[in-house]
């Protein structure tokens, strides 16, 4: 009986640890869920980085977004090294333009804006997520300022 309780406790600890977020990104679980549900067919690598860029639909007072997808991509493509870079954005119209410029150096993912909101894909500030073995290991906001 005592042994059973011990095993159960250990199992519970392992289980709870395996579900702890690995990074400070607060919607990590939702991000994994989103990628699995909507982009699992398109993401073919295990080690990769993912840049998210939203067309900002909300300005408050004088505060609005001020940097274009192209400007960020130019920087991030330069920095990416050998890592596969996926870019997830919500404006279909930008796809041809971006593809024409970056071709096969990038992998392109298009998302529905409302669904991206539901899964907490950062709305105001572009973000970069780094995955190792399909797990998020770190992330950063790409500052517009």
């Amino acid at each position: 009986m005592k042994n059973n309780i011990l095993i159960l406790t250990v199992l519970m600890m392992v289980f709870s640890c395996s579900h702890q977020p690995k990074t400070s990104y607060k919607e990590e679980a939702l991000l994994h869920k989103y990628l699995k549900k909507y982009h699992s067919d398109n993401i073919i690598h295990k080690d990769y980085s993912l840049m998210t860029y939203r067309t900002l639909g909300l300005c408050q007072g004088q505060v609005c977004a001020g940097i274009s997808l192209d400007t960020i991509l130019a920087q991030e493509v330069k920095n990416k090294g050998n890592v596969e870079l996926y870019v997830l954005f919500d404006k279909k119209e930008d796809l041809a333009k971006i593809k024409a410029k970056y071709g096969n150096t990038l992998h392109y993912l298009i998302g529905d804006s409302h669904i991206m909101d539901q899964y907490g894909i950062p709305r105001a500030v572009p973000a970069m997520f780094y995955f190792k073995n399909a797990k998020l290991i770190k992330w950063k906001q790409i500052d517009r300022y």
């Binding site: 408050q60 004088q62 517009r144």
Partner: protein, 378 residues
């Protein structure tokens, strides 16, 4: 004996309860309905506002580089193109180099006040003449200007003035101090600004980052000589009556009101974090949006956005599409009549008309005029 005593006590308790309940003012049910009118207009036509007089209800629009106003008139629930109103060439020449968008307030269909961030002008549309032109820098001191609050200009016929917000020092960030007066009446006759004695009341909250909004401008409306002012995150409404110089305040809490949650403001000096903070606040918190006096029904409306939980039952984040919006109807004494509540934002601001509240939204070359009709007992 003991039973009798208990019965007497119960009876007394019942009586007190009935009296107590009858003393509490109950909010009444507000029934509402929306109707929509979609109009195809010229591309890049910016809707500027609504105007109503005895001849009808109009909305007016303008192209940025065009010297005419497009006037549409309501007929049997549908807006149709009515006429062009030409802006005087002398006026357009005088503001040409300023390269500013023009906002308008109609005095009547012949006379209109044109506002740019640098100037205020009185135009005679009938005779196509510029009657008066004032520069903000000449009206107040150099660092202050009269602000149109996003185009929400309305002529006060009783006072024969244009009520406007006053902003000093830094137009983009606001500088609220303990003695900041924020409301003025501009007289086109004299060119004078009568600064009203209302003082910005939430300085500490503003600088303490307790506000979720970078725009903490007051919400302003008026009934003849009585100005009524509210703020995004406070249930208090302030009034100033010009005729007797009386300031008053009312704590008005509607049934949907919820105070702001305590917020974690660490790291907000980073602009990216600040934008996220603003978006999160405007998505999940309760806040007031607009105060409107309806001269056709002699009631006030306070529009609000309702709070909502961060996640839905499926564990996904609630978004702005899920948010409920509504209004509180208040009688002429600012006593609550009741609330109406609906899902999804309909428009950025509402204008009262004789046929209901009017709002609008636009995309591409289409304008949707939304009419909100309310039914309630006063």
């Amino acid at each position: 004996m003991q039973n009798n005593y208990m019965l007497k006590n119960l009876g007394l308790l019942f009586l007190i309860s009935v009296l107590f309940c009858s003393c509490l003012e109950k909010e009444k049910e507000i029934k509402y309905s929306f109707t929509q009118d979609t109009i195809v207009i010229a591309k890049n036509l910016q809707i500027k506002g609504f105007y109503e007089d005895k001849s009808g209800i109009y909305f007016y629009a303008k192209k940025y580089y065009c010297d005419s106003l497009f006037l549409y008139q309501e007929q049997n629930g549908h807006f149709e193109f009515h006429s062009f109103l030409n802006l005087p060439k002398s006026y357009l020449d005088s503001i040409k180099e300023l390269n500013s968008a023009i906002d308008l307030a109609f005095i009547n269909l012949d006379s209109v006040i044109a506002y740019t961030p640098q100037t205020i002008a009185l135009l005679d549309l009938k005779n196509n003449a510029l009657l008066k032109l004032f520069h903000h820098s000449d009206l107040l001191n150099d660092t202050c200007l009269l602000l149109n609050r996003g185009g929400k200009l309305k002529w006060n016929p009783e006072r024969k003035t244009l009520p406007m917000m006053i902003i000093c020092n830094d137009v983009s960030r606001r500088t609220w101090n303990y003695d900041t007066k924020f409301l003025g009446e501009f007289s086109l006759e004299t060119g004078q600004v009568n600064i009203l004695p209302l003082i910005y009341p939430y300085v500490e909250e503003y600088y303490g980052n307790k506000n979720y909004y970078s725009g903490t401008d007051p919400m302003i409306t008026f009934k003849r000589d009585r100005y009524v002012v509210g703020f995004n995150t406070s249930p208090v409404i302030f009034t100033y009556t010009a005729n007797n110089n009386k300031i008053d305040s009312f704590f008005i809490v509607n049934s949907n009101y919820k105070p702001l949650d305590e917020v974690d403001t660490t790291g907000l000096s980073n602009p990216s974090n600040y934008i996220n903070f603003i978006i999160e606040g405007s998505t999940y918190q309760f806040y007031f949006e607009q105060l409107v006096y309806d001269e056709y029904k002699d009631v006030y409306y306070r529009f609000f956005a309702k709070d909502m939980p961060k996640k839905n039952k499926d564990g996904l984040l609630n978004t702005l599409k899920d948010k409920y919006y509504g209004l509180t109807v208040m009688d002429k004494n600012l006593k609550i009549i009741g609330d109406a509540l609906w899902q999804g934002k309909k428009t950025n601001y509402w204008v009262p008309s004789s046929k209901g509240l009017l709002g609008m939204s636009s995309y591409d070359d289409k304008v949707i005029i939304i009419k909100l009709t309310l039914t309630y007992e006063k």
